[in-house]
Every structure is written in structure tokens, then in C-alpha cells.
């Protein structure tokens, strides 16, 4: 084979060399072996499709007041053909609200999980690789983060920074990186003594290159595991914050719907059509995250698979 022929065949090898994509392939491998993980992926796929198509699918604007033919506000209506899940006490369409709530849940869940994975992995890599005083400082910071009561602190910070979903995401990232950071650090501590990491040093790789090119791909599946768990946590926390009334009042989220229903005595009126759907959706989304996490765990720690 001549040099030019070899160069022509290159893309195939560079594709194989794209180790960062391995993590996604692992996700697929997980889904194929584990039914729960597959169910989790399907739930996310459906939620994602709904979120993207919400404006097209929703029969009404979720914030609009709806009127009866006689001109009255269509408040507290039971499910009907025109309002599949009925209306709220202000005459807003519940079904449309559930559809739009998907968007908030997914944005909050995935952006917060992304933040948690990036921050946690960075801290874990740096702490585990350098060890010594760098490790001490970062891990004492993690201890502090562990000591903070999560939900109260999140509520206080969101109230302080102003109620918006971006602040909610930011606060969750700042509070949830600790688990990922700890676990990644432990993994890096074990990886850095492997011969291939020493080999990278002998070859002349810098510290940064050793950390990010040689070690990071090997901890990425673990980061993904913690990311998938963080999705569930973030959605749950956003719902809690909104339910307690500290969310953004202009954004329809599932937690906001629950708060709305609670404040207008929907429970007393047995308006199940109003508060059960958002509750179910929260449960499904959180469960899906944990299902995927479970599948990852079994792949990463095969000894758990004793059945």
C-alpha cells in the first residue's frame, strides 16, 4: 500500500479513534442489554419529540384564557373533546400546559446534568491527577457542598438570584457536582497508576494532555452514569422549587402546574385531570433517568448483575 492509498483510507481510522463518541455507543450498548434502560431511553425520546413539537401539538396557548361559547371563562372544566384534560381555574388548557411543561423539564434536566458532568468531571480529574494540596482543597470544597442541605439551599439561592429557570439550572449545577467529582476523583486515582498513563508521561505528554487525552476517555462512562442520575434530580428539584412557589411565574413547568392546582383547591374538588398528569410526567422523567443510570451501573460494575 502506498502512502497516498493509506491516506485515502484514513477517515475510517480517525472515526475509530474518536474515543469521545464511545460513551454514546456505550449508551446504546446499555439500552440493548437492559430493558429498563431501553424503557428509559424510549421515555426520553418521546418527551424530546413532545418538547420539540409542543407548539404544533398543543391545541391552545398554555397561558391563554379560554371562553365558553356563551362568553364565560371556561374555568374548572372537566375533560371534554375540546379540552382533553380539562381546564384550570383560570380557564387555561391543562393538556397544552403538560405539553409545554415537557420543554422546561428537559431543558432544566439536561442542561443541569451537562453542567454537573462537566464541572464534576473537571474537578475529579484535576483533584485525582494532581493529588496533594490541589486534591485537599477541591475535596474539602466537595465536603462543604455535601454538607449543604440541597433543597433549602437551592430555594434560597434561586430566591436570591431571581426566579428564572437558568438560575435554577445554575444553582443545581453548583450543588450537584459533588457526587460526580468525588467518584471521578476516586477513579482517576486508580487510573493514574496504570502503565498507559505512565507511558503517556514517558512519551512526553504534558499534564493537561495526560489528563484530557489519556485519562478522561476512561472515566467518561462514569461521568455519563452520574449525568443520567443528575437529569432525574434536576427535574425533581425544579418541580419542587416551582411547587413551593419560587419558580419563574411566566414559565409553565410541571411543578408550576402542581402549585397552581394546589393553590386553587383542585385536590379538594377532586380535579384529578389537573394534577395527576403533571405528577405522572415528573415521575416518568425522573424514573427514566434512573433506569438509564441503572443500566450504566450494571455495565460498569458487572458484579452487580448477580441474579
Amino acid at each position: 500500500m502506498s502512502g497516498s492509498e493509506r491516506a485515502a483510507a484514513l477517515p475510517q481510522w480517525t472515526r475509530a479513534a474518536a474515543t469521545w463518541r464511545d460513551a454514546l455507543l456505550v449508551t446504546w450498548a446499555v439500552a440493548r442489554r437492559d430493558r429498563f434502560a431501553l424503557a428509559g431511553l424510549i421515555i426520553y425520546a418521546v418527551l424530546l419529540a413532545v418538547a420539540l413539537a409542543a407548539p404544533a401539538l398543543a391545541p391552545y396557548n398554555p397561558l391563554d384564557l379560554n371562553y365558553r361559547p356563551d362568553g364565560d371563562v371556561a374555568a374548572n372544566e372537566a375533560p371534554s373533546l375540546s379540552h382533553w384534560l380539562g381546564t384550570t381555574n383560570l380557564g387555561r388548557d391543562v393538556f397544552s400546559q403538560v405539553l409545554f411543561g415537557t420543554r422546561v423539564a428537559l431543558v432544566v434536566g439536561f442542561v443541569a446534568a451537562f453542567g454537573v458532568v462537566v464541572l464534576g468531571t473537571l474537578v475529579g480529574l484535576v483533584a485525582g491527577y494532581y493529588s496533594g494540596w490541589v486534591d485537599t482543597i477541591l475535596m474539602r470544597l466537595a465536603d462543604v457542598a455535601f454538607g449543604i442541605p440541597f433543597l433549602p439551599m437551592a430555594i434560597v439561592l434561586v430566591a436570591f438570584l431571581g426566579p428564572s429557570i437558568w438560575n435554577t439550572v445554575l444553582v443545581m449545577t453548583l450543588l450537584l457536582w459533588r457526587d460526580t467529582g468525588r467518584v471521578i476523583r476516586a477513579q482517576v486515582l486508580s487510573l493514574r497508576t496504570r502503565s498507559y498513563v505512565e507511558a503517556a508521561r514517558v512519551l512526553g505528554a504534558s499534564h493537561v494532555r495526560t489528563m484530557f487525552v489519556h485519562i478522561a476517555p476512561n472515566v467518561l462512562p462514569l461521568s455519563f452514569l452520574y449525568g443520567s442520575l443528575a437529569v432525574g434530580w434536576a427535574i425533581l428539584t425544579e418541580a419542587s422549587i416551582s411547587f413551593l412557589g419560587f419558580g419563574d411565574p411566566n414559565v409553565i413547568s410541571w411543578g408550576f402546574m402542581l402549585q397552581d392546582a394546589y393553590n386553587s383547591q383542585a385536590m379538594a374538588r377532586h380535579a384529578f385531570y389537573w394534577f395527576v398528569p403533571p405528577g405522572l410526567c415528573i415521575m416518568l422523567a425522573v424514573m427514566a433517568g434512573f433506569f438509564i443510570g441503572r443500566g450504566y451501573e450494571e455495565l460498569l460494575f458487572p458484579r452487580l448483575r448477580r441474579r
Binding site: 493509506r6 475509530a16 502503565s195 505512565e198
Partner: protein
């Protein structure tokens, strides 16, 4: 001839986690992993470091490779002190000194293809102008270690290769940067006996062809005899005997070397064996004896051995030995 590598009184100590009491008493306990090793290696030479587990062979190698920093003594490579190298000087040094690992199953990144692993040194040292040229160099390197057809190995992951193939890849990677010194730590101990000779012959041919200076670390005297012109026997962090390989192995002077040589299995089972027995186990390296480190196990121990540490002094036929049994060695160390 010029000395490429000069190691003088090299030391590496590890502090021990001490308990409350010793912390209060101010006692600092240390493990002496390497305790005053000196040798010189001329360009193109090959040195074999022999000794049992825990005698400091691997630590010595890691010190030379600057994976560890010495606690004392010096390592000079081509006249420059290795311990002080930083930045670009260190990078240049890394290009000149390469390592072959004991465990080939761990020496390659499991998430890299063979091609990716072999491109790494070229990327780090910016060798080759284009990706095409680098791939061409990798192909030549694989060809050199007889992994052909090279294209079939490019997309493979380490777990898809055998131990012998992996070790060849590791050798190819080490040679990609054209080093002057190659250090091999038990290069074949993890491999099947049937393929050891192949890998060793390959290493010997390649280092002769490229006039490489080599250091082989092994507990296996047969390997050292086969591969090296100079042999050094280490015991508890020090060299107890060093000299031309044939001389050291055929006429071992130090009682420890004699025991090692007699322990080498003879391929002829009919041959009667008369092993030199040595007693007990190795003293722990944080309670080093005052005198000769081997005194407690030595079959020919004398009164002086427990008081005075023997220095490594010339004996005969180019051999240096650290033992009071030899007249030159009875002088005091310091």
C-alpha cells in the same frame, strides 16, 4: 568511550505513614527503595539489572525515566543532570529515553486504537509534517516489529491483540521517537514462554541495528546473559556485584550472586543440582542493617559484616563487588 548514562549514589526514600507516638517523638521512618546505586553505561552498551522482587530495580528505572524524582545522588544523561530538567529540556530528554513496560496488557490505552496509540508520540514531539506522513511512520514502525500486514493492526484495540503482539506494539511505540536509551522492565515476564525468545530477539536485533543503549531489568539471569554485556546484581536497593555478564554469571563472587546463579533452573533434569541455600527472608527496607545488607542471610557471614557496610570496589576481570570476603572489599565504606 563516552558514558551516556552516569548514575551516582542514587537514592530514593519514601516516608512511611507514622503513628501518633512516633510523630510526637519526632522519629521519621522511611523506606529506602534505592539506597546508593552507582553505575555508568557507555553509548551502545547494554546493562542488565538483576535481583529479587522489591530490591529497587523498577524504582531505579523510574528514576532514570524521570517518572520519579531522586531523594539523593544524581543521574547524568549525556552530561546533563536529569533531575533538574524542566519544560522543553525535559521534553527533549523524554524523546531520548524510552521505556518498555512489564505488563503489555496495561501499557496501551484501552480506548485507543493501535494507530491512535502509535500516533501519540509523533503528535507530542511534532514528528512528521502531515497526518499522511505520520501514518506512514507508524506503518514502518509496525513493520519493523513484524506486525504485518500493518493495515490490519491500525483499527484494532489492545484487547483484540495477544500479549506478544501488544509488547511488539509497545516496542514500536518506544522506537518511534528514535531514542538513544531504551529501558525495558521485565519485558517478557508477562508473556508465554513460547513467544519470549521471539520478542527478545526482536529487541536485540533492533537495538543492535540502531546502536541503542539498553537497560534490561529482570529477575531472570538467563535473559540478562542473553541480552546484556554488563550485569549488575541488586540487593535491597544497592548493587552488590557488577561486571561483564559472562564473568558475573560464570564466576559469581558475591554470596548473593552465587545463590542467584545456583537457583537458575537447569534445562536438563538429570543434572544434579547443588543450590546454595540462603536463610530467612529479605529484611524490610525500613530497618536496614548497619553493616552489609545481606549479612543476616549470608552463608559466609563474618563478624565484620554486621558492623561495616562493604563498598563496591574493583575485584578482578572488570568485576566490582561489595563484599568483605574479597580483600579489596574489606576497606571501610566511608
Amino acid at each position: 568511550m563516552s558514558q551516556l548514562l552516569e548514575v551516582t549514589d542514587l537514592r530514593k526514600e519514601y516516608p512511611l505513614q507514622s503513628g501518633m507516638l512516633s510523630a510526637v517523638m519526632g522519629a521519621r521512618r522511611v523506606v529506602h527503595a534505592v539506597n546508593g546505586v552507582s553505575f555508568a553505561l557507555e553509548e551502545g552498551g547494554s546493562l542488565g539489572l538483576a535481583g529479587e522482587s522489591g530490591c529497587g530495580k523498577t524504582t531505579t528505572a523510574k528514576l532514570i525515566l524521570r517518572l520519579l524524582r531522586p531523594s539523593g545522588g544524581s543521574i547524568r544523561f549525556a552530561g546533563r543532570d536529569v533531575a533538574g530538567l524542566e519544560g522543553l529540556d525535559l521534553l527533549a530528554y523524554r524523546r531520548q529515553v524510552q521505556f518498555v513496560f512489564q505488563n503489555p496488557y496495561e501499557a496501551l490505552n484501552p480506548r485507543f486504537t493501535i494507530l491512535r496509540s502509535l500516533l501519540e508520540p509523533l503528535i507530542i514531539h511534532d514528528i512528521g509534517r502531515s497526518l499522511t506522513e505520520r501514518v506512514e511512520r507508524v506503518a514502518m514502525a509496525l513493520d519493523r516489529v513484524h506486525l504485518t500486514p500493518v493495515e490490519t493492526f491500525f483499527p484494532k484495540y489492545p484487547h483484540q491483540l495477544s500479549g506478544g503482539q501488544l509488547q511488539r506494539v509497545v516496542i514500536a511505540r518506544a522506537l518511534l521517537v528514535d531514542p538513544l536509551l531504551l529501558v525495558a522492565d521485565e519485558p517478557v515476564s508477562m508473556l508465554d514462554v513460547s513467544i519470549r525468545a521471539g520478542v527478545l530477539n526482536l529487541m536485540r536485533d533492533l537495538s543492535r541495528e540502531r546502536k541503542l543503549t539498553t537497560i534490561y531489568i529482570s529477575h531472570d539471569l538467563a535473559l540478562i546473559r542473553y541480552m546484556c554485556s554488563v550485569a549488575a546484581v541488586m540487593y535491597l536497593g544497592t548493587i552488590c556485584e557488577i561486571g561483564p555478564t559472562a564473568e558475573v554469571i560464570e564466576h559469581p563472587r558475591h554470596p548473593y550472586t552465587q545463590a542467584l546463579v545456583s537457583a537458575v533452573p537447569d534445562p536438563d533434569p538429570a543434572q544434579p543440582r547443588r543450590p546454595v541455600e540462603i536463610a530467612d527472608t529479605v529484611p524490610t527496607p525500613f530497618q536496614l542493617p548497619v553493616g552489609c545488607p545481606f549479612a543476616d542471610r549470608c552463608p559466609q557471614v563474618m563478624e565484620v559484616c554486621r558492623r561495616v557496610r562493604p563498598a563496591l570496589l574493583p575485584e578482578a576481570a572488570g568485576v566490582h563487588v561489595a563484599c568483605h570476603l574479597y580483600p579489596a572489599g574489606t576497606r571501610e565504606a566511608h
